[in-house]
């Protein structure tokens, strides 16, 4: 099990954190240009995740080809998203393999999300081997609009 921490963006007082942030920004910039991701394998734990956010939701995607929805287990507790699963080998008998590149086995990955999420509202979709999670942010971490009262 691996736990990934997100560097918080507020760590301006820490120059290393700021440098790390810059490096990630650069990676993102180049990855957009070249269409590939040098930040790939950042955590090195299966499965590779793409995480994004907007004002009130966090989106998590993972490629899990050949997994069955019932073999994927997702749990959320406060800020920690845990994914577990297993890809079972196909039961075929009396065959000889020419190539065997598709791996089978179990995975267990825990990710610390940058915000607490509302575990009841999590939506998980599995289509064409891609798992898509939509996690609504908890009420207290959602940005609040402050209106200015003119006198």
């Amino acid at each position: 099990m691996a736990i990934i921490r997100y560097p918080r963006f507020s760590e301006f007082q820490n120059p290393f954190a700021e440098m790390e942030r810059l490096r990630r920004e650069m990676d993102r910039l180049f990855s957009d240009v070249a269409g590939r991701s040098p930040a790939a394998l950042a955590s090195g734990v299966f499965p590779a995740l793409n995480v994004s956010e907007d004002a009130d939701k966090i989106y998590v995607q993972a490629e899990l080809p050949g997994f069955k929805p019932e073999d994927i287990d997702i749990s959320v507790e406060k800020e920690t998203l845990t994914l577990r699963g297993e890809r079972k080998p196909d039961e075929v008998e009396n065959v000889s393999y020419h190539r065997r590149e598709r791996r089978t086995g179990k995975f267990h990955k825990a990710v610390t999300l940058p915000y607490a999420v509302n575990a009841d509202g999590v939506d998980a979709q599995f289509k064409d081997g891609v798992l898509k999670l939509v996690l609504p942010k908890a009420e207290h971490v959602k940005p609040k609009k402050i209106s200015i009262n003119a006198e």
């Binding site: 991701s37 930040a39 790939a40 994004s52 989106y59 079972k88 065997r100 590149e101 064409d128």
Partner: protein, 132 residues
């Protein structure tokens, strides 16, 4: 093998000099190919490719598998990006012993399955040894 933990495999990008018109990376899917008495089965991991975007082409003895991945972006700003999405492409040379008419392709949970039946002539035949 079932108890082993899965490791991240970096998606291998296709090395080619020819350019594609779609500005997306092209990956080489991981495949399993196994042979039974009557057929050859090919399994390819192509997550994110719907069945209607898979293109299988057999020309002479070149089998080409192409898949167009959904390129719609995830909403919002990126926090973590561990993989890229794109198309899949892989080419194989088949022996002539395949019955081309009977090739069956199906797709499930992002895995393409191609069943290539062997031609009648190529099936192994038991040869009885006669004693005189």
């Amino acid at each position: 093998m079932a108890d082993k933990d899965l490791q991240v495999q970096e998606k291998q990008e296709l090395q080619t000099k020819s350019e594609s018109t779609r500005n997306v990376p092209i990956f080489v899917p991981a495949v399993d190919i196994y042979e039974s008495q009557n057929e050859l089965t090919l399994l390819a991991d192509m997550p994110g490719v719907p069945i209607e975007s898979v293109d299988i082409d057999l020309k002479d003895d070149q089998l080409t598998v192409r898949g167009q991945g959904a390129t719609e972006e995830q909403g919002g700003t990126v926090l973590l990006r561990e993989y890229a999405v794109g198309d899949y492409y892989r080419q194989f040379t088949l022996s002539n012993a395949i019955d081309r008419e009977k090739i069956v392709a199906s797709m499930k949970d992002g895995v393409l399955k191609l069943v290539l039946p062997k031609a009648e002539a190529a099936k192994p035949r038991k040869i009885a040894v006669k004693t005189s």
